[in-house]
């Protein structure tokens, strides 16, 4: 698969991953470009990528950890920046979405970084082997980590956000 193919295929996915980690849109764009830059340099140096998808996620996550120690939350400011006199249905719907998004981030922040990342990666449809590579954990422990993260998420939902989500 050529660089262009990989870029076209995974750009949006990576950007979405960043936004789900609650990185600001601008920073998210930068991280995505930097990740692909490293991939491009790797290809030019003759590095063979057996699984470009997992590699991109791993580099992205590592860059996020190193460069975004003080996380850039922009969700709250987005929601608050809406004009008070703008009460049209679309605006209210938009506001509602942003508010829900803010609550989801607040809830996910109650989990550890690894738990949060594994849930997002699982939602993105990565295989256990890919998740193990991204999170740099033993492939045999992915199932355990995932189930623990699910249990923690459910517990958090039950305690703090019972009204928002119907418990199953």
């Amino acid at each position: 698969m050529s660089f262009d193919d990989v870029y076209r295929k995974y750009y949006k996915e990576l950007r979405r991953f960043g936004r789900q980690l609650n990185i600001s849109a601008e920073k998210c764009e930068d991280l995505t470009q930097e990740t692909f830059m490293k991939f491009y340099v790797g290809i030019n140096k003759g590095v063979i990528f057996n699984n470009p998808r997992a590699w991109l996620y791993k580099v992205y996550l590592n860059q996020f950890k190193t460069t975004c120690n003080s996380r850039e939350y922009d969700i709250g400011s987005e929601a608050n920046s809406m004009k008070a006199d703008n009460h049209s249905e679309d605006a209210l719907e938009e506001y509602s979405k942003k508010e829900k998004r803010r609550i989801v981030f607040e809830m996910l922040d109650r989990l550890t970084d690894k738990e949060k990342a594994i849930l997002i990666l699982y939602n993105h449809g990565l295989s256990y082997a890919e998740m193990a590579e991204v999170l740099e954990i033993n492939p045999n422990s992915v199932g355990t980590t995932l189930v623990r993260a699910i249990e923690r998420l459910k517990e958090t939902l039950k305690i703090h956000y019972n009204e928002m989500f119907e418990q199953n």
Partner: protein, 153 residues
């Protein structure tokens, strides 16, 4: 087959089990009420994750993929830490010049005539020149007393 753990059920749901075991596990889940309940729970949990994580999505998916800007390879980047040794060296040299003891004389204190003379003799030592070229004429009387001494140039 013994009952499955929650983790095994999860792995079964995600098809991360060896294919040879899949059929046996599937049979067991169908027959065992406890495992069947765990399986249904795992399916519901997966849907819940989709719902929760899905809510964190933005509407930015419609944004087109930007063109990739090709990096300039093999070009050395000048980073700040690489400049530090040069800055330190320049600072040390600056400090040495600032506090050195043999400072050049300040021309402002030298009278203009001396400066002109100095330039006229092309920097030669005037005192030495005077000694080399001068003659001493001593005038004496008959008794040998010195009447006058004249130094000529």
């Amino acid at each position: 087959m013994k009952c499955l753990s929650r983790i095994e059920i999860q792995e079964f749901l995600d098809k991360e089990i060896e294919p040879s075991l899949m059929a046996r596990m599937s049979d067991h889940i169908e027959k065992c009420e406890n495992c069947s309940m765990l399986f249904r729970q795992a399916v519901a949990d997966k849907a819940l994750i989709g719902k929760v994580i899905g809510m964190s999505d933005t509407t930015e998916d419609s944004i087109p993929v930007p063109e990739f800007v090709l990096p300039v390879l093999n070009k050395k980047r000048i980073t700040f830490y690489k400049v530090i040794p040069y800055l330190v060296a320049a600072s040390v040299i600056g400090i040495i010049f600032l506090f050195r003891s043999d400072k050049t004389p300040v021309l402002e204190n030298i009278p203009e005539a001396e400066i002109l003379l100095y330039e006229f003799y092309d920097g030669k030592d005037l005192n030495r020149m005077w000694h080399e070229k001068s003659q001493i004429i001593i005038l004496q009387d008959e008794k040998g007393n010195v009447i006058q001494s004249i130094i000529t140039n």
